[in-house]
Amino acid sequence: MDAMNWPLLSLIVWMPILTGLVLIFLPEDRAGLGKFLAALVSIVALAISVLMLTGFDGSTAALQFQEKTVWIEAFNIHYHLGVDGLSLPLIVLTALTTVLVVISGWSISDRVSQYMAAFLILSGLMTGMFAALDAMLFYVFFEAMLVPMFLIIGIWGGPNRIFATIKFFLFTFFGSVFMLVALIWLYLQSGSFAIADLHSLPLSMSAQVWIFLAFLIAFAVKVPMWPVHTWLPDAHVEAPTGGSVVLAAVMLKIGGYGLVRFSLPIAPDASGALDWLMIGLSLVAIVYIGLVALAQSDMKRLIAYSSIAHMGFVTLGLFLTFAILRNTGDVDGAVLGVTGAMVQMISHGFISGAMFLSVGVLYDRVHSREISAYGGVANTMPWFAMFAVFFFMANSGLPGTSGFVGEFMVILAAFKANFWFAFFAALTLILGASYSLWLVKRVFFGEVANDSVGQLSDLTAREWTVLTVLALLTLALGVWPQPLIELMEPSVANLVDHITTTKIN
C-alpha cells in the first residue's frame, strides 16, 4: 500500500501538536469548533496508528516506518523516528487514550479549546517520544511533555493543584537531568546520539553502573517506583479527569519503556548486577504500596497507589530476566517475563484509564472523590455500576480480563527465578482484590447512602461510548492476548538476546 511509505509517524506526532498550537488561540466563544477539531484530529491520529498496526511486519524485530533526517549537524543529532514491536503498541495506546480523553473532556467549561490543545500537544509529544530513535530527540520529547502536563494539572486541577503540579514538574525534571548527563557522557564516548549506536557501545562495568543509576533516577520517577512515587498520588488527585487518565494510561508507561529502550540494552551488565535492587524495589511497590492503597479514603488516591503497585509488575517482569537466566538458563522464561511486563503496561493503560474515567463520572455529578461520600450507587446508576465493577475486577486481576494476563505471565516467570519472588508478587492477587473490591462494596453496593447519591442519573451516551470501548478492549486482551504477544515477541526476544550478551570489552 502506498500510504505505508508516507511519513506516518511524523504525521501522528506533528498533526496533533500543530493543531494544538492553533487551538490555543481559539476564542472562548468558538469552543465548539475547538472540541470538534480536537476530536477529529485525535481520531485521525488513532486511525493512522491503527493503519500502521495493520501494515506492521510482526515477524521481525527490525525497526519499521523509519524516517531520518539530520537535525543538528554539529553534534550528529538526527530526527530519526521508527517503531518496533515494543513501541508500536504504546503508540496506539497513546492515540486511543487521547481520543477517549478528548471525548470525555466534552463537559469541560473553562478554557475549552486550550484544554483540548494541551492534550493534543501532549499526545504528539508522547508519540514522538515512543517513536524516537535518537537519544537527544527522545530527551527533547521526554522533557517537553512536562510543559503541557504542568499546565493541565495547574489550570484545570483541583483545589490543591498548584502544589501538586509543581511537585510533579520538579520531581520528573529532577529525575531526567541525570539522564541528560548520562546521554551526553555516552555521546562523548560514542560520537553519536543514535540509540542503536548506544546499544552497541562497549562499556566498562563501573561506567555501566553509573549510566544505569542515572537512567534509573529518570525512569524510576516516571514509573514511578517506590520510594520516588510520592508525586503520583498528589498529581492524580489534583489533576482533572483527563489529566489523570493520560498520566496513568500513558505517562507511567514512559518509565517502563525507558527501562526497556535505554537502561537494559545500554547497561545490560549493570542491569544484571543490580537486578536485586530492581526486584526488591518492585516487590516493595507491589506489597507495601498495595497495603497503602487499602488505607485510602479518596478514590483517585486509591487508584493512584494501585497504579504504582501494578507498575511494580512491569519493573519486576523486566528485571527477572537475569535471575531466570542465572538459575535455569531458560531463555523462554526470560522472554515470558519481559513480554508479561509489556502486556501489563498495555493492560494497565486500559484499566487505569477506565478507572479514572469512572471516578470522573461520579465526580462530575457529586463533586467528591471521597469514598465515604458514596454508597449504593448501583441503585441509581446500574449501568455505570456494571462498568465500574468490571474495571475494578479487572484491576484485581480477574481471569478473562487483560489485568490477569500480564500479572499471570510475570508471576509465572517469577517462579522460574525464585519461589519467594513469585510468592510476594502473587500477594497482589489478594491485595489487589481487597482494595478494589472493598472500594466497590463501599461505593456501589449497599443502601443509597445520601441524597446526592439518590439523585444520580445514569451514564450519558458519551460516557457509554468511552467506557464501552475500554471494556471491550480489556476483555479482548484478556481473552485473546495472542496477537499482541506475537507482535511483541520478536522484539522482546531480540532484547533478551541483546541484554544477555555482555558489553564489557
Partner: protein, 478 residues
C-alpha cells in the same frame, strides 16, 4: 599604521561617528519629535549590520590591524551582529517605557551607542590596552545610563554602587594586566601567548596577574562571590536600562573573557580552569537558591543572571573550541532571552510605574493570553526545558564541561537547574493558575508587540532550528 588598515575597523568607526552625529542631531530635534532620534538610532544599527556583514570574515581567518592591537575574525563579526540585534530590540522595547517615564531623551540613544562601541572594541581587541579601552567605554556609558532618571533616588544609589564596584573591578583587572605586562613585557595578547608558550617568563608574577584578571572578569560578569552589585543595580536602574545592561554587555564580557583567557593566557588554562570552576559552582548554587526568595521580578532575574553566568563559565572549563562555541551560543541565547524577559517587565509597567512585583504577573493569561504565552516560553527557556533554546544552550555547556572532566560539576549544574526551575515555574503559575488583580489588558505600541512576539517565538524557533546558530558559533572558533 597604514591608512588602509582603517577599513578593518569600519563598523567601529561608523558607530563612533554616528553616535556623535546622533548626539548633535538630537539637539535640533524638537521635544515632540523625539521619535526621529529613535528611528535614526535604529537606522544606524541597520547600516552597521550591513557593513559588518559585507566585511564578514570567513571561518578560520583573521586579520590584525593597528600594530596588533585590533583583530577582526569571524567570532567578533558574529558577536557584533548579535550586539546590533540585541540593541535594536532594546531600543524598540525602551521607547514606550522612556516616554511614559518622562526619560525619552537623546542621551539614552547616544549613550547606548557608545556602550555598543565599547562592546565592539572589546570584541575586536587584540591587546590588553584595547580590551581596557572597550571595557571602560562600556562601563562609563552604562554607569551614566543607570542614573539617567535624575529624580529617582534608587537610580542614583544604584549608579553609585555600580560606579564604585565597577571601578574597583576595572582597577583589579588593570592591576592584573600590569603584572602580566611586567612578566611578559608586552601588551599584545598574541605575544603574551607566545611568551607563555616559550616558558621564559616569571611564573609567580604571571599567576598573580592571572588571578587578578580572573577576579576582574568575574566582577564584570557578576560571578559569585563578586556579584554583589548586580541585584542592586538591576533593581535600582529604570527598567529600560536594566533591559540594556542585562543583555548587550554580556556579549562584550564574553569576548573579554575569551580574548584575555584564551587568546592571551591560553597557555595557563590549567590555572584559570580551576578558578573558573569554583566561580561557576558558587554562581550556580547561590544564583539559583537566592532567586527563590525574591519577590521583586528585577531582583529575581538578577539572581537568575548570576546562575546563567555560572553556566556560561562551564563552557570555558573545556578550554577548547567546542567549549567556547558552547559558551558563545549560551551567551547569545541568554541575551536574547533576557531581553525578552525584561521587555515583559516593561510591558506590564503602567504610566512609568514599573511592574516590579511578581504579583503583577497574576492572571496575565486571562488579561493577555498572547504575551503570557511569550513569557511562558521565555521562562521555560531560562529553566532549560526542551524544546526551547535555553535547553540547547545548557546541554552544550554541560557537554563541554563533561568533556573537560568536570563531571561532578556538571551534575551540580543540572541539580541547580532543577532548583532554578522552581522560580521560573512560579512566574508561569502566577500567569496561568492565579486570578488577575486587574482586568484591563496590557497596552503597548505595535512595534513593541511585534518585536516581543518575535523575541518570544525565537525561544522555540532557535530551539527547534538550533542547528544554524550552533554551526555559526562553531565556525567562529575554527
Amino acid at each position: 599604521m597604514s591608512f588602509s588598515e582603517l577599513q578593518f575597523a569600519l563598523p567601529e568607526i561608523f558607530i563612533a561617528g554616528m553616535a556623535c552625529v546622533l548626539l548633535v542631531a538630537d539637539l535640533f530635534v524638537k521635544e515632540g519629535r523625539r521619535g526621529l532620534t529613535h528611528t535614526l538610532a535604529l537606522v544606524i544599527l541597520a547600516f552597521a549590520a550591513i557593513i559588518t556583514m559585507r566585511l564578514m570574515m570567513p571561518a578560520g581567518e583573521s586579520v590584525m590591524a593597528f600594530s596588533d592591537t585590533f583583530i577582526r575574525d569571524r567570532f567578533g563579526d558574529v558577536l557584533k551582529l548579535f550586539s546590533y540585534l540585541v540593541l535594536a530590540a532594546v531600543f524598540v522595547y525602551s521607547k514606550h517605557f522612556l516616554r511614559s517615564a518622562n526619560l525619552f531623551r537623546g542621551e539614552f540613544y547616544s549613550l547606548s551607542l557608545f556602550a555598543l562601541l565599547g562592546v565592539m572594541v572589546m570584541i575586536s581587541s587584540a591587546s590588553m590596552l584595547t580590551v581596557y579601552l572597550g571595557l571602560e567605554l562600556l562601563a562609563l556609558s552604562t554607569y551614566t545610563l543607570v542614573a539617567i532618571d535624575r529624580e529617582s533616588p534608587s537610580g542614583a544609589e544604584a549608579a553609585m554602587k555600580y560606579f564604585i564596584l565597577g571601578s574597583l573591578a576595572s582597577g583589579i583587572l588593570l592591576f592584573g594586566m600590569s603584572l602580566v605586562y611586567g612578566a611578559t613585557g608586552t601588551l599584545a595578547l598574541v605575544e603574551i601567548s607566545n611568551a607563555l608558550a616559550s616558558g621564559a617568563s616569571d611564573d609567580l608574577l604571571l599567576s598573580f596577574g592571572l588571578a587578578f584578571m580572573v577576579v576582574g572578569i568575574a566582577f564584570k560578569l557578576g560571578a559569585v562571590p563578586f556579584h554583589m552589585w548586580l541585584p542592586d543595580v538591576y533593581q535600582g536602574a529604570p527598567a529600560a536600562v536594566t533591559l540594556l545592561i542585562s543583555s548587550l554587555p554580556k556579549l562584550g564580557y564574553l569576548a573579554l573573557a575569551i580574548r584575555l583567557l584564551q587568546d592571551g593566557m591560553g597557555g595557563m588554562h590549567a590555572d584559570w580552569q580551576a578558578m573558573l570552576a569554583v566561580l561557576a559552582a558558587l554562581s550556580l548554587i547561590l544564583g539559583n537558591v537566592v532567586a527563590i526568595a525574591q519577590s521583586n521580578i528585577k531582583r529575581m532575574l538578577a539572581y537568575s543572571t548570576i546562575s546563567h553566568i555560572g553556566f556560561i563559565l562551564l563552557g570555558f572549563l573545556a578550554a577548547s573550541p567546542a567549549g567556547y562555541a558552547a559558551a558563545m551560543f549560551y551567551t547569545i541565547a541568554y541575551s536574547i532571552t533576557s531581553a525578552g524577559a525584561f521587555a515583559m517587565v516593561i510591558l506590564l509597567s503602567r504610566n512609568g510605574i514599573e511592574a516590579e512585583n511578581l504579583d503583577d504577573f497574576k492572571g496575565l493569561a486571562k488579561r493577555s493570553p498572547w504575551f503570557a504565552l511569550m513569557m511562558l516560553m521565555i521562562m521555560f527557556s531560562l529553566a532549560g526545558i526542551p524544546v526551547f533554546v535555553g535547553f540547547f544552550a545548557k546541554w552544550q555547556v554541560i557537554a563541554a564541561a563533561i568533556q573537560a572532566g568536570f563531571t561532578g560539576l556538571s551534575v551540580l549544574a543540572v541539580i541547580t537547574a532543577v532548583i532554578g526551575a522552581f522560580y521560573y515555574l512560579r512566574i508561569v503559575k502566577l500567569m496561568y493558575f492565579d486570578e488577575p488583580e486587574r482586568s484591563e489588558s496590557v497596552a503597548a505600541p505595535v512595534d513593541f508587540r511585534a518585536v516581543l512576539s518575535i523575541n518570544g517565538l525565537a525561544m522555540i524557533g532557535l530551539g527547534i532550528f538550533s542547528s544554524g546558530l550552533i554551526g555559526l558559533c562553531i565556525s567562529a572558533f575554527v
